[in-house]
């Protein structure tokens, strides 16, 4: 069976569910499985004919399927694989940077897994990914999770610090903020 026919067979499931195909003139038509099967039989015989010629031969309600191996009917999207790396968090903190030193930074962290009071910790910059280092600034928010990383069945304890890339301020946001500031100033110093 050539590629085009194989692709066409894969469309049977759509036909069986009575889904409607749309032609170029956007007039909905229903194609029965029997009609496609008869079309396929004809196509097998005429698979060497040029596309346009074959199209004319077919029933008007049948979509013009490409008939050559190098003209697939549809391109199937690549499948997304199941991710083999998962991370299960055991302890979760959310924190923000208070002060940045040369090799470390001081942060206040809140335990999200239990109701312990907030803590201040000093974290070495070595623990931060290269991509996140430019984000280490006073006020930056981050998530710190300790848990188990599983990859292809192998489990290991792991700690991940991820800085938030919080939504950017657009020009219109800044304009609105400036207008509000002006309004507030006028109100306060009236």
């Amino acid at each position: 069976m050539n590629t085009a026919l194989a692709e066409t067979y894969s469309n049977f499931s759509r036909v069986e569910t009575n889904e409607t195909f749309l032609r170029e003139d956007e007039k909905p038509i229903e194609i029965s499985e029997q009609r496609i099967r008869s079309f396929l039989n004809e196509s097998k015989e005429s698979s060497t004919q040029p596309h346009e010629e074959a199209k004319e031969k077919n029933d008007s309600n049948i979509l013009p399927f490409p008939l050559k191996d190098d003209q697939p009917l549809i391109a199937l999207a690549p499948k997304m694989q199941i991710q083999h790396r998962t991370f299960n968090s055991s302890i979760k903190w959310e924190g923000y940077v208070i002060k940045v030193y040369n090799d470390s930074f001081l942060a206040r962290i809140t335990n999200l897994s239990s109701k312990y009071p907030d803590e201040e910790v000093e974290i070495e910059k070595e623990a931060i990914s290269k991509d996140d280092l430019p984000l280490v600034k006073a006020g930056s928010v981050f998530n710190w999770h300790i848990g188990y990383e599983t990859e292809h069945g192998t489990k290991k304890q792991s700690s991940i610090i991820r800085f938030r890339r919080l939504p950017v301020w657009t020009k219109s946001d800044i304009k609105i903020a400036e207008a509000l500031e002006k309004e507030l100033n006028n109100f306060l110093y009236f």
């Binding site: 999207a77 690549p78 991509d131 938030r164 890339r165 939504p167 950017v168």
Partner: protein, 224 residues
């Protein structure tokens, strides 16, 4: 049965009109929504005017002309999924978006095959099927949704699906879809309305999904 999920997933889906070809890892990196190194190490499946798909170690991105999705299976990055979705459409604020789904998935491990079946029987009791089916019945899939109230469209519509997990042996799979949509007039405003709804609902929706799963497991564990 464990209270904690073996595998979790958070996914933000938008329905609207998108231009898939612009969404490349390099574009996200240039807008500082992901790191440069992350962008270079991404696994690009396809970038095309009709569809774009790529993966980073912590998230998967998929978009077609009418569908935009970003998801992660690592809890520490769930906030990053939110940042990426919001950041993208704060930059592309004129993109028409009409609906949004905040989706969570959980694969929960049962302690035994018996417990796995018992959990299914709690959600779908066997008694109505006794005498109708020749053999013992088992739950294959159940879908429950909260009644949608048109008076409060901002509350969204929640659907919970429970079925056997295909990733965890004797596991239960929960899929929770929190769906929000906006009317045609709001859609004309681009993505602002839906993004603002995402910002308001993200935390609440995630907490709600986690509570649903833990509450139903609690109910199962406390059954007499």
């Amino acid at each position: 049965m464990k209270q904690k999920a073996e595998i979790q997933m958070a996914d933000i889906v938008f329905i609207g009109s998108f231009n898939p070809a612009i969404f490349s890892p390099a574009w996200f990196a240039s807008k500082k929504l992901i790191g440069e190194t992350e962008s270079e190490g991404s696994d690009v499946k396809v970038i095309h005017p009709d569809i774009t798909m790529f993966e980073l170690p912590w998230f998967r991105f998929y978009t077609t002309r009418d569908h935009f999705s970003v998801l992660s299976e690592q809890e520490v990055y769930f906030s990053s999924v939110f940042d990426l979705a919001v950041g993208t459409f704060q930059l592309l604020e004129h993109t028409p978006i009409q609906a949004m789904g905040i989706n969570r998935e959980f694969h929960i491990q049962c302690d035994s095959e018996k417990e796995w079946h018992d959990f299914g029987h709690l959600l779908a009791p066997q008694s109505p099927w006794e005498g109708i089916l020749k053999k013992e019945s088992a739950l294959k899939k159940i879908e429950i949704c909260e009644k949608y109230s048109p008076e409060n469209p901002l509350d969204g519509k929640l659907t919970v699906i429970v079925q056997p997990s295909n990733r965890v042996r004797f596991g239960v799979f929960f899929s929770i879809n929190d769906h929000y949509s906006i009317d045609a007039q709001e859609k004309a405003s681009g993505s602002k309305k839906i993004i603002s709804r995402l910002q308001k609902k993200w935390k609440e929706s995630n907490e709600k999904s986690e509570t649903i799963v833990s509450a139903i497991i609690d109910k199962f564990l406390k059954r007499s």
